[in-house]
Subunit: 264 residues, 3 copies
């Protein structure tokens, strides 16, 4: 194991991997801009006619069910299978799982048909998928669903993937080890799509550090959290914080990032 | 009657109601962020597979035809009927009614199949729906369509709902009474989707003050207008105004809001 | 020939033409806001049920295949034919042509069925369409594909349209003449959709200067580039640059624009 978000960020900026995202209408611009600001190249493509070809060009695939509908789900599964065939890591963001049966069942269907590398969700979403108690209001997780570290470990074991559960402290687990990430800022909760952005950033880091997915997923959350801390400094509220967040992602310094990352 | 945007805002922030929005692609991020900045929880869901279940969790439903297509219209009507069955208030924003037959006819169809609590539109859109003269260019209302107060009262009577007609001065009517709201700023017209945001904010206020819809609709426009006034203070143009607007919505002070609201 | 971006901008702001855009989900808000900030009126409409009627109201039509799917392509072609029948200029932005067969073939299909006035793309996209070598990674053009002026002239001749090829220096050609535009800023490459915005701005300028499309297309890129130069002045990164860009478009001064435009 070697955790170094700074080193992974440097690799990412050198390689500029393409990160294929099939995501929701609300945050497409935001996740594309976060990807670009970080130093990778985003591409959004959802047509069955092209997703398999597009993912073949990519270093990672990010699936996000935030505004799902049947055709989009079909495209996610086709892209996910193509990614699996090509050895390309897949991130799944189960936005709103637990809120409606359609979201919960779609998440289970994707998990059963696609080999997902990292599941990145909030406590309510992930708890839903492992049958734990959780309160989800729409796409927001309300209140803690017990201990985040336990939840991440349980989800990783039962779903056989890396579980990345974000909250005040984030927990990333492969079922055995658990990495806790304590970076971030409360203003993240005031801007829609910051969870989705963290999933996109996870895809970027996986593309740069393919062989150590647990570490890459934790590094991504640390890097995103450090950027949020920087963005909050001069922010006057959610709007200026949001604009600053892209500035901060672009300004992340690989040299100092390891020292600022709070991964344990 | 009791008009107090400050009190309603306080209730809203305490309860954090879910506001289900089936809206257009252009403004989804913007209306979600306005909802979140104000203190409510947005959720965007448009699949027929889940809209009825989702709206059952919500405190209000906002329908917006800005980028309509047949499947989306079907989902709006299904969600609207479920909202009606559950006693959940419905806001309709008839974006571009009058510009094309499809938009005008879709608006009429929604109004005939769904019980709409508040119709929130510009003068051109609302005038189209009551057969008055209006000039609509695309989704913008060009020039005044006569007296706003009369238009609001006429629309409220003939359509049997609360008509919320926005312009330099906004007019909200239940067919008998008319409340005029004089808050706002000319920079609102330079950012796309600010009308859509005012509809989303109307949904938030209805969710917090269900029993007095006329007052809630006027309070929403006053609160949004006061935030716009605050956002304009340091703005250098449409872009910085847009970012500031979310800051200002989040910073709205319930204690001083009633004194700043210009509702008569 | 008469090149004067300042004069065209003045006409645009006086007439406030409607610019109908059938574009991708990622940038809809951005291109709408760029259009509005510049002084024209955007409308987004993609349903087959209304695109022909909507384009009849417009001064220009902008087609963008950034997140294409079959229904949207059908709507683009229907709108394009209606624009042709009405003498309304058409801009095509072939986002990602060369990345997947579906994008390349869709671009060729649109070019064969619709009379396109201006093709606005990056070097990789345009080179793909004329069979030249190019490296495209997703929707980004990587590295130079030879000489931009030659590429623009070749594309204009072989496709029988105005080719507007953007890069560090932009080149716009009708197959005979080539105008080079040297305005812009490197921060444009750090925000997603700035290419799409330049296509929307091209549509705005064509709507204001219908009879000299070559000049209008070059003027649009100069105006957009000057706005980018202004936006970069106080920017701290991609996020604040992005917000500033709308401020700068709105603040463009027709009196000084001709002096700042670097068109040769």
């Amino acid at each position: 194991m070697s955790v170094s978000p700074g080193r992974t960020l440097r690799v990412l900026r050198d390689r500029k991997p393409l990160v294929h995202q099939i995501t929701n209408y609300v945050v497409m611009n935001e996740t594309a801009n976060a990807t670009l600001a970080l130093g990778a190249l985003p591409v959004m493509a959802h047509a069955l006619e092209e997703v398999e070809e597009m993912v073949g060009l990519a270093g990672a695939l990010v699936l996000n069910i935030g505004t799902l509908s049947p055709r989009w789900v079909d495209a996610m599964i086709a892209a996910g299978k193509a990614a699996n065939a090509g050895g390309i890591p897949v991130v799944l963001d189960p936005v709103g799982a637990g809120a409606t049966r359609y979201r919960t069942e779609t998440t289970r269907r994707i998990l059963s048909e696609v080999g997902v590398t990292v599941l990145r969700g909030n406590q309510g979403e992930v708890a839903t998928l492992v049958g734990a108690d959780a309160e989800v209001r729409g796409v927001e997780s309300i209140g803690a669903a017990g201990d985040g570290a336990d939840l991440a470990r349980t989800a990783a074991r039962s779903l056989a993937l890396i579980a990345s559960v974000t909250g005040v402290v984030d927990h990333v687990s492969d079922g055995t080890r658990v990495l806790a990430v304590a970076n971030g800022h409360e203003l993240l909760a005031t801007v829609t799509g910051t969870g989705c952005m963290s999933s996109a950033v996870t895809g970027c880091f996986l593309a740069a550090k393919h062989d150590e997915s647990l570490e890459a997923a934790a590094e991504a959350l640390a890097a995103f959290g450090v950027a949020a801390e920087d963005a909050a400094r001069d922010a006057k509220g959610p709007g200026t914080f949001h604009a600053n967040l892209y500035d901060a992602l672009a300004a992340l310094d690989p040299e100092t990032l390891d020292g600022r990352a709070r991964i344990s």
